[in-house]
Amino acid sequence: MTTKNQRRRGQQFGSLKVAVAAGSLAAALMGTQLLARQDAAAATAVAQPDTLTINVPSDMPTTLQTNQAAPAVNSTTPQRQVTLNLQPIPQATVPQIRSAPSIVRMAPLTQTRSSR
């Protein structure tokens, strides 16, 4: 025999199942749309950069040095690895339009041939 409390818990559990199912469906739909947008972005991107890994010495200052002539970091310096997953930057493809040559056809003015 079911008590009043047991019936109330059963109703609450049923509502939870409906909410979870609805949430899953919504998440699946949003995921599908997101994947479709990612595919579109990938198709228009000019280059797909690989994952960029930067090894940063632990004692390195926060300011980055871009000078290539800077002294190499001592390999014994303890390093920490920072992995940056950079998303490709969508770029519009620029059409390569060549200017038309100024002379497409030029009829010969005269011709070389055996003496006559």
Binding site: S102, T110, Q111, T112, R113, S114, S115
Partner: protein, 315 residues
């Protein structure tokens, strides 16, 4: 977009062929230049023609075995001919006149249609290949032809004169000369990389010749030698005007025409002639090894061959 060149031009006959001139200048300047060039061709023909009994060359050919003082023009052209004879190991030979007449080329080609060859010139000793026995005395500008040796400066005289014509017209502007199928260009016309010219496919007498390809020509020459036009029958045998100095007979070759591009008209003329005599394989090898030359050859099967550097000139 199609472009055409519009500039003053003129046409006249000299040295047994049609001469065409183009000059990028105003009409009055062009008229002055054209008149000067026409006089140049007439004067050079008067000195260098082997068909005129009064030409200086004919006089020289008639005085073999003695020293003969010659004009600046005859001296310069003969000297250049001998330089090219040495350069080509005698394959270009200005001493082939006896052999040429023995083959039946005794009058100008225009007159040959009515001339009857009777073989009287075969009595000459051929003496081709004797170019190195000609002596030049620079101090007295005099020439010594060994007894019986006679010279013909036909093709090289025409090329030399066409080059002189370009040098003469160039101070007025960009110019182009067509001397019987041999082209010599000065500077390029305005806003073009050169003068657009065609290389004709071989053709019989009287037939219009289609162009096999078109080239830009600027400060250079394009000469064609061929056996497709100046040919005849002599004593029942087919003959043409290109003598092989090694045999003294019309060259037996697998080429019908040879067109050579060079910086100077005389070299283009000489290389075209010698290429035809050498035949396809030898001449192509020879031309490929000389990067300052480019060429188009047609063989007897109608096939076209060209040197690898010709592409730089093609329109």
């Amino acid at each position: 977009m199609s472009t055409t060149i519009t500039c003053p031009s003129t046409t006249f006959r000299a040295m047994g062929c049609q001469i065409d001139l183009w000059l990028e200048a105003d009409e009055s300047s062009a008229a002055v230049a054209f008149e000067a060039v026409e006089k140049l061709f007439a004067e050079n023909e008067r000195i260098l023609s082997r068909f005129s009994t009064t030409s200086e060359l004919t006089q020289l050919n008639g005085r073999t075995g003695e020293w003969v003082p010659v004009s600046d023009l005859l001296w310069n052209v003969l000297e250049e001919a001998l330089i090219w004879a040495a350069e080509t190991n005698g394959l270009f030979d200005p001493t082939c006149l006896n052999a040429l007449e023995a083959a039946g080329y005794v009058v100008s080609f225009e007159a040959m249609a009515t001339a009857q060859f009777n073989g009287r010139h075969q009595a000459h000793h051929l003496l081709n290949g004797q170019w190195s026995s000609i002596q030049l005395d620079p101090a007295h500008q005099a020439v010594y032809l060994p007894y019986g040796l006679r010279i013909d400066l036909g093709g090289i005289a025409k090329g030399y004169t066409a080059q002189q014509a370009v040098d003469l017209m160039s101070p007025w502007g960009a110019c182009l000369v067509n001397a019987g199928g041999d082209l010599v260009a000065g500077a390029a016309p305005s806003s073009l990389p050169g003068w657009p010219v065609g290389v004709a496919k071989p053709s019989e007498a009287g037939d219009p010749a289609d162009n096999a390809l078109s080239l830009w020509l600027e400060n250079a020459a394009l000469a064609t030698s061929g056996v497709d036009y100046r040919r005849w029958t002599s004593n029942g045998r087919a003959a043409h005007h290109l003598i092989d100095p090694r045999t003294g007979l019309p060259a037996i070759t697998d080429l019908v025409t040879a067109t050579v591009w060079a910086a100077q008209a005389t070299e283009a003329e000489v290389r075209a002639t010698t290429s035809l005599i050498m035949g396809r394989h030898t001449s192509l090898d020879n031309l490929e090894n000389q990067s300052h030359l480019a060429a188009v050859l047609f063989d007897t099967d109608g096939e076209m061959y060209q040197t690898s550097n010709l592409g730089n000139l093609v329109i």
